[in-house]
């Protein structure tokens, strides 16, 4: 057992996979000479050279397309986007090409690639640099979407993502690269599509992921515990495919569900979770599902407005009290 930051965990995952498989390469803006805009690729250039750790110009559509082509031709690209906000420039390559390739080619060509980088709001970066975009990727059949909330999962899930035969959208948290956690010694992977119960509880299920789980929902659970409410906290870890059974079984036990996410409410990931649970556990629900999301606006710059827009411990506690009919 070692204690490492999420940054180091991700770095170890790429390092191990590059050592294990010659086909794996890392490409993106500032990944090589600069050692990564967020230092996730620290040291990889020195170890693997410029053939496998490739700096690109600022051309997301171009180098993501290079990734799609390289994947079709048998390589395993890891494409780093400096932030997921910029992945929108490459959305055509991801949605129209990577996601469609295996199906549209009738199984002739798959696109085994990872598009990874930080997502979500940091601090006062305003509307274009603060987006939680997981919902627009989970919408697309052909993509897998992974969002780790801690160092152990970050490493194990990234290794699985690199080995996966499909395009994987791997969204890290811009704020959490320095957050430390224990990881097992030696080789391990965590399968995609398997969530975990972070904390067992009996009164209400809270589903949350990434930074919002680690920094908001987990704290809310503590607070609720001090108020005598036992919340079960679930981290799906992979948003597509979603571990529906884990969530549904939990709701069958607690009879109440709150979904907490950083993205916007309209067609958010929580909307799908709410639907699925309404469908599969309708008779078990003692209250309508309640969602906590970012407010339905482009995120403002001013600190107080930014704070007001994002999910908070108070909002989660209020949502739980709501489904407990204690509000």
């Amino acid at each position: 057992m070692a204690t490492v930051s999420i940054r180091e965990a991700l770095n170890q995952a790429m390092d191990e996979e590059m050592a294990r498989d010659e086909r794996v390469f890392l490409m993106g803006e500032e990944v090589a000479n600069y050692n990564g805009a967020y230092k996730v690729s620290q040291g990889l250039l020195q170890k693997y050279g410029p053939r496998r750790v490739v700096d690109t110009p600022i051309a997301e559509e171009g180098f993501t397309g290079i990734g799609v082509g390289a994947a079709m031709a048998g390589l395993r690209p890891v494409i780093e986007v400096m932030t997921f906000n910029f992945s929108l420039v490459a959305y055509d390559q991801i949605v129209n090409h990577a996601a469609k390739m295996y199906s549209m080619s009738g199984g002739h060509f798959n696109a085994p690639m990872v598009v990874r980088g930080p997502g979500g709001a940091a601090h006062m970066l305003a509307a274009t640099h603060s987006q939680a975009l997981e919902a627009i990727y989970t919408h697309i059949p052909g993509l897998k979407v992974v969002m780790p909330s801690n160092a152990k999962d970050a490493k194990g899930l990234l290794k699985s993502s690199i080995r996966d035969e499909n395009p994987v959208i791997f969204i890290e948290s811009e704020m959490m690269y320095g957050d430390k956690g224990d990881i097992p010694d030696g080789e391990y992977t965590i399968p995609l599509g398997k969530g975990q119960i972070v904390r067992e509880g009996s009164d209400v299920t809270i589903v949350s992921w990434s930074k919002i789980l680690a920094r908001v929902s987990a704290q809310a659970v503590e607070k609720l515990a001090s108020e005598g409410i036992s919340a079960e906290l679930i981290d799906p870890r992979t948003l597509r495919p979603m571990d529906w059974d884990l969530i549904v079984e939990s709701v069958k036990k607690t009879n109440r569900l709150v979904v907490v996410e950083e993205g916007w409410p309209f067609n958010g990931v929580g909307a799908q979770i709410s639907h699925e649970v309404s469908h599969r556990a309708f008779d078990y629900l003692d209250a309508p599902v309640v969602r906590v999301t970012q407010e339905d606006v482009p995120l403002p710059y001013a600190h107080n407005l930014e704070k007001a827009s994002l999910p908070s411990v108070e909002k989660v506690v209020a949502a739980v009290q709501n489904v407990m009919y204690k509000a």
Partner: protein, 343 residues
């Protein structure tokens, strides 16, 4: 290479056929005729409602396909846009599988998943069939990246229409390919109109090959009606790519006889009937046939025999396609995700 190569092969005095063996010349003639007759049949079937969706025909551009792919080895790659029937035939995809695909059948190139615009065949290194204009150009560069990454000498021919040279992905791909020295040849099939908008109305530079100059890339234009000129220019670019990993850009000046797709008329408002008829006098198949006859490589009986052979072959594709089953409904959820080994 930086100058026009349109007349280069014709001025090769020693052998107008560039030293190519007779079998190759005859094969090329048959192949161009097959593409023409295949497309005519596709038009007919489209008119009968047997082919759905969008269907972009290749009539008039056959020399580009045959001459270009003729310069490749089988393990080289081809990637193109949605006007992909001709190139698929040239790259050796089974015409029966292509006709079946057009009819949405299970025996089609992609089992009925892709249709006219999305032909693929891994065994032939044919990477599509892509229908978002310009988006496949970086993908082609990625295939070339993989070839160089593995230290191979395989090259990529990346075809696109003139309209694709106005979108950003084209420029990003050219820059990255030149910057990283990727073994790819970008081939613009300039048929003068992106749908209904002429090159003059859509591009600030009408000599499209000159767009490569901004990236320090070798470039030239070629008479796309002349299969031998196409072959010579692409061969040169392929040789250079294999030796140096450097990309090239070639502009093939060609013409499509049909509308942009089967959904629009042959000329419409954007070009005149006269322009279409005049250009048809430069028919690439007729030009090649005349040259072969002039040099006594073939005679009229070969042409008649070829016509009969190709007609029978196309009929065979139709029969195969029509007798093939539709994809079973169980195919709906196949090939969305590829099974991954337990990580």
């Amino acid at each position: 290479m930086s100058t026009a190569s349109a007349t280069a092969p014709k001025s090769a005095k020693a052998d107008p056929f560039l030293g190519l063996p007779k079998e190759t010349l005859l094969k090329w003639y048959d192949e161009m005729l097959l593409i023409r007759r295949f497309e005519e049949k596709a038009a007919q079937l489209y008119g009968m409602g047997k082919i759905g969706g969008f269907c972009h025909l290749y009539n008039g551009q056959e020399a580009v396909s045959t001459g270009s792919v003729g310069a490749l080895q089988p393990d080289d790659y081809v990637i193109t846009a949605y006007r992909d029937h001709g190139l698929a035939i040239s790259k050796g995809l089974d015409p029966k599988s292509l006709m079946a695909e057009l009819l949405g059948k299970y025996t089609g190139s992609t089992k009925g998943k892709g249709g006219s615009m999305h032909f693929f065949d891994r065994s032939k290194n044919f990477l599509g069939g892509h229908a978002i204009v310009g988006s496949h150009v970086p993908i082609g560069a990625g295939v070339a990246f993989a070839s160089k990454y593995r230290g191979e000498k395989r090259v990529v021919l990346c075809f696109m229409g003139d309209g694709a040279t106005n979108i950003g992905s084209f420029y990003e791909a050219l820059n990255l390919s030149s910057l990283w020295k990727l073994p790819i040849i970008f081939i613009i099939e300039n048929n003068k109109y992106s749908m209904g908008t002429s090159v003059e109305r859509s591009s600030s530079v009408v000599d499209l090959h000159k767009k490569a100059l901004s990236f320090g890339m070798r470039n030239g234009w070629v008479d796309g009606h002349d299969v031998l000129a196409v072959y010579a220019a692409v061969s040169d670019a392929v040789r250079h790519a294999r030796q140096t990993y450097e990309p090239s850009l070639l502009e093939m000046r060609t013409f499509r006889y049909r509308g942009h797709s089967m959904s629009d008329p042959v000329h419409g408002h954007y070009r005149t009937k006269d322009e279409v008829e005049q250009t048809k006098k430069l028919d690439p198949i007729d030009i090649f046939a005349s040259l072969l006859k002039k040099h006594s490589v073939i005679d009229d009986s070969f042409l008649e025999g070829s016509e009969a052979r190709i007609k029978a072959l196309v009929e065979e594709t139709v029969e195969f396609a029509q007798n093939s089953p539709e994809p079973p409904l169980s195919e709906l959820y196949t090939d969305v995700y590829k099974e991954s080994e337990e990580a």
